[in-house]
Every structure is written in C-alpha cells, then in structure tokens.
C-alpha cells in the first residue's frame, strides 16, 4: 500500500513537470510570414538569426544597440554559428522563421526565395537607391526574376595578394598590375631561390574551398562577368574551356614545382588559416599569398605580425588581364526578410545605411558594403586600403561557389579540387565530375 501511494505521488509530480517544461520551452516573439507585399504595423520586437559567433556576434549586437535605443524595437539575437543552414531549414519548414536572417551563403537564401518564403525587399526598401549606395555587383547575386531578396550587411574582399612588406621591398620586388607581370614576379622570386607562393587549402570538413576561390578569381578574369554569371548559374557546362584555363593559370602560378612552399603535396595538408605565416619568417619562406581580407584576424596570422599590421603586411589586388581591369571577388552575409512589417523595415533600413558600424570593431576584419561608409571607422591602414580597392571597383562578383547549389558549391567543387591538387584525379576528370554532380 505504501508503495502504491509513493508511485501515485511520483506520477502526479511527473505530470506536473511535463506541463511546466512545455510552458518553458515555448518561444516568445518571432513569427511573420507572407503578408502579400503589404507592410504591417509590427509589435516592436523582431528576431535576427545569423551564422557568425564569438567576437563577431558581440560586434553585431553592439552595432545594433544604437538602433534599439533610438527605435524602441527590441531585437532577439539568435546566434546559429554552429551550423547556420541546418538550423534555419527546420525553422523555415516549421513555419517559425526569424524576421531577418543574415545568410552566409546566397545559394541557400535563393532556395528559400524560390519556395516563396522570403519577402521581396522592393516592398520595404528603395532598391535603386540601395544599388547605387553599395559596391557594384553585390546585389545581383541576391536578385531573382527581377526581385531582390537580400543585401550584404558586411563584406569581405577575396581577390587579394598579401606579401611581407619589408622583405618584399628589400628585395626590390614591384607590385604587379597584370597577370603577365604577376607571372614574371613569380619567376623572379623563384630565380632568387625562394618559393614564391604559400598556399594552404586544408579546412577540416570544408577542405578545398580556398582552391575554388582561386578558380573563381581567374574565371572572372578570363571569362569576364558575363561568362562568370553563366558559369555560376550552370548555363554553360562547369568544365567549360574558360574554367580549364583558369585552373591552368592557378596551377602554373602556384602549384608548379618550386613555386609553392612545401611543394604541391603540402597544399592539401596545410591549414588555410596559418598558410600565410611562413611569409613572416626570417628569411621569408615565400612572398605571395592569395586570400580574403579576413586572414588578418586574430588567430590566423601570428600576434606579432597582427600588432604591427601596417608595417609588416603589404597587400595588392590580384591583377587582371591588363592594368585597367580590376575584377573583384567578394563575399559576405546577406540580410533577407521573412516578415514584412514596420519593425523589420526599420531594421533593414538601418543595416543598409552608412550609420550601421558593424565594421567598426577592432577584432573583426569586415568591411561595410556601403560605399559612403566613413573610412576613418576602420581600425588600421591595411583595412582602409582594402576598403578603398572595394569601393573603387567597377566589376565585382560574389563568391561563385557560395551561390551554386550546395551539392556543388559546398560539395563536389571542394572535393574534386582537392582530389585534383593531391593527384587522385586529373583536371579533366575533376571538372567533369563536378559538372556531373550538378543537381538537375
């Protein structure tokens, strides 16, 4: 009898707790959905979901604080940095999307746009004014069937070559302005007895992405923006001759015998984050490294170099076919809206204005995509130089692999470039296999 009473007690407690836990896990706010192009009135609270963490997440919250106090709108920040795409998919499928999401990869954003889940930003923002204010070309990747679904809230430049300033100048090397001059410089450094390039494409589960950036950069140069766009949308085969030419140039510059520190074999086993560091040994083990401007952030380059960035590190834009052509490969997080109300509109307007100082944090290396952004906000000369290159650019394109379907852009393109560089596949086989993997 005693046992039975105890059992009854446990049962009652368990039921009570089940109800209690159900109440606690209920999420507040959020919601939204398609309002048919009409901007609703809003309830003074929105949720923003994004795929970056740590210092960058803190910087974003700081940058939005001013907006929160001025507008009185409360923001719920959802940091999905562990795995943005696998976290946002179920939210959207479960009809519980955030109001605004900052997509690290435009490909996923356009997937949702195709499913009709995203708001056409034209109903909330002046798209033409936005286009004029931003670095040219960055909105194209977020536009589908004439509707714009996103704009970059931060942005990084990928077509950059970094060099050890002091040693580079001491040797009398000159910054190249064309691909031919870059080849000549490569040969000159090699003749002087140092491997010209440092290349590392290892990145755990994402190994290979650095190589895809190289290929994209040269496709943009040899094919021009028109052909580049066709290639990214698979309107021409993935293994089009221009891609082969681009890969050939990458191989000639940075993979050939004696051209890369450690040899071609070490490219696939060197982590991208530390690949540049041999440049700053004495004497330098290499002089050239192509990577986006995020490479100067804490944890990648050595602290000693980072503290004296402007004196130690030089940077130039990866040159084009001739001195006047300066195509730029860029990347960044795209803000897109799932709801359409006054609060969302206000937040989007703020994030697309030069007042939004996301870039103004010393630990980050991000740029603002707004051309009129006050350069004095950037923490050092190096970042200013990169920003100037970006704002002066006339033809820029978003990182192509980020806009391709996931099976290619985050799958076969990475894997087959790795297989090609490490010798398991020939270039023709690799490019053919990528083309075959494109989802129909």
């Amino acid at each position: 009898m005693r046992w039975r009473r105890l059992l009854q007690g446990i049962v009652v407690a368990a039921v009570a707790m089940l109800f209690a836990s159900a109440c606690l896990s209920e999420s507040g706010g959020g919601g939204g959905g398609d309002t048919g192009g009409q901007t609703g009135s809003g309830d003074k609270s929105i949720e923003i979901m994004y795929g970056f963490g740590g210092d960058q997440s803190k910087g974003f919250v700081d940058a939005m604080k001013q907006f929160e106090t001025q507008s009185g709108i409360k923001i719920k920040y959802t940091d999905a940095s562990q795995s943005f795409d696998t976290l946002i998919r179920p939210r959207v499928q479960g009809n519980n999307p955030p109001d605004i999401a900052l997509f690290p990869q435009p490909g996923l954003m356009l997937d949702f746009a195709k499913q009709g889940k995203l708001q056409d930003l034209g109903s909330m923002l002046d798209i033409q004014a936005l286009k004029d204010a931003l670095v040219p070309g960055v909105l194209d990747v977020a536009t589908q069937d004439g509707k714009t679904y996103g704009f970059p809230v931060n942005f990084n430049v990928k077509s950059l070559v970094w060099y050890p300033k002091k040693a580079f100048e001491a040797k009398g090397y000159k910054v190249p302005t064309t691909i031919a001059e870059l080849e000549a410089l490569t040969n000159q450094i090699k003749a002087d007895g140092t491997a010209p390039w440092c290349v590392g494409i290892e990145s755990a589960g994402a190994t290979g992405w650095v190589a895809t950036d190289w290929i994209e950069d040269f496709v943009l140069r040899y094919g021009g923006t028109a052909k580049y766009d066709q290639w990214v949308k698979h309107e021409i085969p993935f293994n089009d001759p221009v891609v082969k030419q681009a890969a050939g140039e990458f191989e000639k510059l940075a993979l050939a015998d004696g051209n890369v520190f450690g040899g071609r074999k070490s490219v696939v086993s060197t982590n991208f984050g530390v690949a540049m560091n041999p440049e700053f040994q004495d004497p330098p083990k290499c002089f050239l490294h192509r990577q986006g401007n995020f490479i100067t952030q804490k944890g990648f380059i050595t602290e000693k170099v980072r503290q004296n960035l402007d004196e130690e590190v030089g940077v130039f834009q990866l040159p084009g076919n001739d001195a006047s052509s300066k195509p730029l490969l860029v990347g960044g997080d795209m803000a897109a809206a799932f709801s359409n109300d006054a609060d969302t509109k206000a937040a989007l307007e703020y994030m697309s204005s030069p007042k939004f100082k996301f870039a103004n944090i010393a630990t980050a290396t991000w740029l603002s995509a707004v051309k009129s952004f006050d350069l004095s906000n950037y923490p050092n000369e190096t970042t200013k130089t990169v920003a100037k290159l970006a704002y002066a650019s006339t033809e820029s394109r978003f990182d192509g692999s980020d806009s391709m379907p996931g099976a290619v852009g985050a799958g076969s393109f990475w894997k087959d470039m790795t297989a090609w560089i490490s010798g398991q596949k020939s270039l023709d086989e690799a490019l053919k296999d990528i083309d075959d993997s494109w989802p129909s």
Partner: protein, 326 residues
C-alpha cells in the same frame, strides 16, 4: 539556466511518463478477470517496447527503402536511377572498394591482435598482465572523434624545413627523409590503411578482454592432456585452445565487423573522405546533409542495410547454436 531546468524536467518527466504508462496499463490489465489478466499481462509489458521499435526502427527502414526510389527532394519517383547513378560513378566505386577493404582487414586484424595480446599477457606475472591489459584497453574509452583528433596529430605534416609537430613525421625526418603528408598518399590505399590503424587501435582492447576471458576459461586438464600426449606449444594453441574459444572469436569478429560497417567518425574527422579514403557512411552523411539529396542518401543506406543483413542473420544463428549446445 532555463535549459538546465528543462533538461532535468525532461529526464524526470520522461522516466515518470514511462512509469505512468506502465502503471495505467497494469491497472487496466488487473481489471480483467483472472484468466484474461494472466494472458494479457505479458503483452502489456512488452507492447510499448515493441511499438517503440516499430516506430523508430521498422517504420524508418521501410520509409528509407521507399525514398531510395524517389528524387533528391522526395517529390517524384525516379525508379532505379539513384542506384544506377551511384554504382556507375567512379567516386562511389572507390567508396565501395574502400568499405570492402575495411571489412576484409579490420575485423581479422583486430581478432588476431586481441588473441595475441590475450595469450601473451596470460603468461606474464599478475602485475604485468594487469598493466599491459589496462594500457591496451584504454583507447576503447576514447570516443571516435577524440581518437581521430589524436591520430590527426600523429599523421600531421608540415612543409620541409618547418618544425614537424606530427609524431610520425618527426621520426621520419629524424631518419633523414623528407616529410610526407601521410593522409594524402593514396597509392595502394596506403592512407586507408592508416585510418584503419586508428579503428584497430581502438578496438583491440575490446577484442582482448573477451578473448582473454575465453582463454582463461579453457580447462587446464585439456591442455595438460595435450602436453602429456607430446604436443608442442604451437599445436596446443591451434589445436586445443583455439577450437575451444572459437565461439568467442566469431562473436568478436562479427561485433567488430558491424562496427566497421557503421564506421563514420574516424574518416569524417581525419579526411572527410578526400584522397580516395571515402567509406559508405561518410558518403551517406555528405549526400544527405551537404548535398541535400534524400534519394541518393537513402539508396546508399539501403545498400548498407543489404550488406549488414547476412552478417546479423549469421550472428543470430550462431548465437542460437551456442545456446542450444549449452
């Protein structure tokens, strides 16, 4: 804080919920007349478990087989296309070949090494046996991801002239050779063997413990009888000991074989299937979560399931035979 409370409530609520369910079912059964109660009661207690297995194992299995004939978003039928596409792709053939290689090598080596350690440790003093067995058993306690991370450091390669932080390359360069990026050497599937070493390292402890118990259980009089009949140590081992522990050998072999078929973490962490080291489970993960292709991922799992069925069937039969012989 709320998360912690929620987790605790979920645990308490889950256990309590199960208790409640059985309590109610039991009550209902008790309301029946005596004979009905006796007949129904076993079902009352086994039905929830059977239903759970049906819901979480059988239903998904059937669903997976169905989806393997559909397209990547499971919206249209494509017939056998997923299977033919996979089986004709060179990458997948390599993946299958690697999986077969793993099956052929890992269980056999694990059993042989485990048996060797068990037999040899048996002849050490009791202190020596305790220590060697503890050390060999330790890796079993390390998770797959942890083991893979440790061995990544062992195989780590830096360009020539840089300090080598990888153990293998440190030794290799000290001997005067150039550093080698071990995990990228796919000649003769060398890198696949390097990955198998990690699994074997982790599983030998398990194999050793079971086989050691079996070796110790071999009756001493059978060994003595063999000795009196003039058998040498080798003959005693192969003709007297091994036949008597054969049942345990088969059990260990099959358990490791199933571990190998499910192996994922080691390859995923160390190479992610690059450099021709892909195996079936990693390929499945990448098809489903990276490429978002439900159809192909399902087809891969169905193939894996077909490969596992005979092994499991054999194990069940073997188990029954052992039970019957007892």
């Amino acid at each position: 804080m709320i998360r912690v409370i929620n987790a605790l409530l979920a645990i308490v609520g889950g256990v309590g919920g199960a208790l409640l369910l059985f309590w109610i079912l039991n009550k209902l059964a008790e309301m029946l007349p005596q004979r009905g109660e006796e007949r129904v009661k076993p079902w009352v207690f086994i039905a929830p478990a059977a239903a759970a297995i049906g819901l979480f194992l059988i239903y998904p299995a059937v669903r997976t087989i169905v989806l393997s004939f559909a397209n990547s978003t499971s919206t249209a039928w494509v017939g056998l296309e997923n299977y033919t596409d996979l089986l004709t792709s060179r990458d997948f053939q390599i993946t299958l070949g690697n999986t077969l290689l793993w099956i052929a090598v890992v269980p056999a080596v694990t059993v042989v090494l485990g048996l060797a350690v068990a037999t040899l440790a048996d002849r050490l003093g009791s202190q020596g046996e305790k220590w060697t067995k503890s050390i060999i058993f330790l890796p079993l306690a390390i998770s797959g991801v942890g083991a893979a991370t440790i061995w990544r450091f062992i195989y780590e390669a830096r360009p020539a002239g840089e300090p080598q932080i990888g153990l293998l390359n440190a030794v290799w360069t000290a001997l005067g050779f150039d550093p080698v990026a071990w995990l990228t050497v796919s000649t003769l599937r060398f890198n696949s063997f390097l990955l198998m070493v990690v699994v074997i390292w982790g599983q030998v402890g398990f194999s050793m413990v079971l086989l050691s118990a079996a070796v110790k259980a071999v009756p001493v009089d059978t060994l003595e009888a063999a000795r009196i009949d003039g058998a040498n140590e080798r003959q005693i081992f192969f003709k007297v000991t091994v036949p008597q522990i054969w049942g345990t050998v088969i059990t260990v072999f099959i358990t490791v074989l199933i571990t190998v078929l499910k192996a994922f973490d080691i390859v995923f962490v160390m190479t992610n299937g690059n450099f021709n080291t892909d195996i079936i489970a990693v390929r499945f993960f990448n098809e489903l979560f990276r490429n978002g292709d439900n159809g192909r991922a399902a087809a891969i799992v169905v193939m894996l399931m077909i490969a596992v069925v005979p092994v499991v069937a054999y194990q069940v039969r073997h188990f029954r035979a052992e039970e019957a012989a007892r």
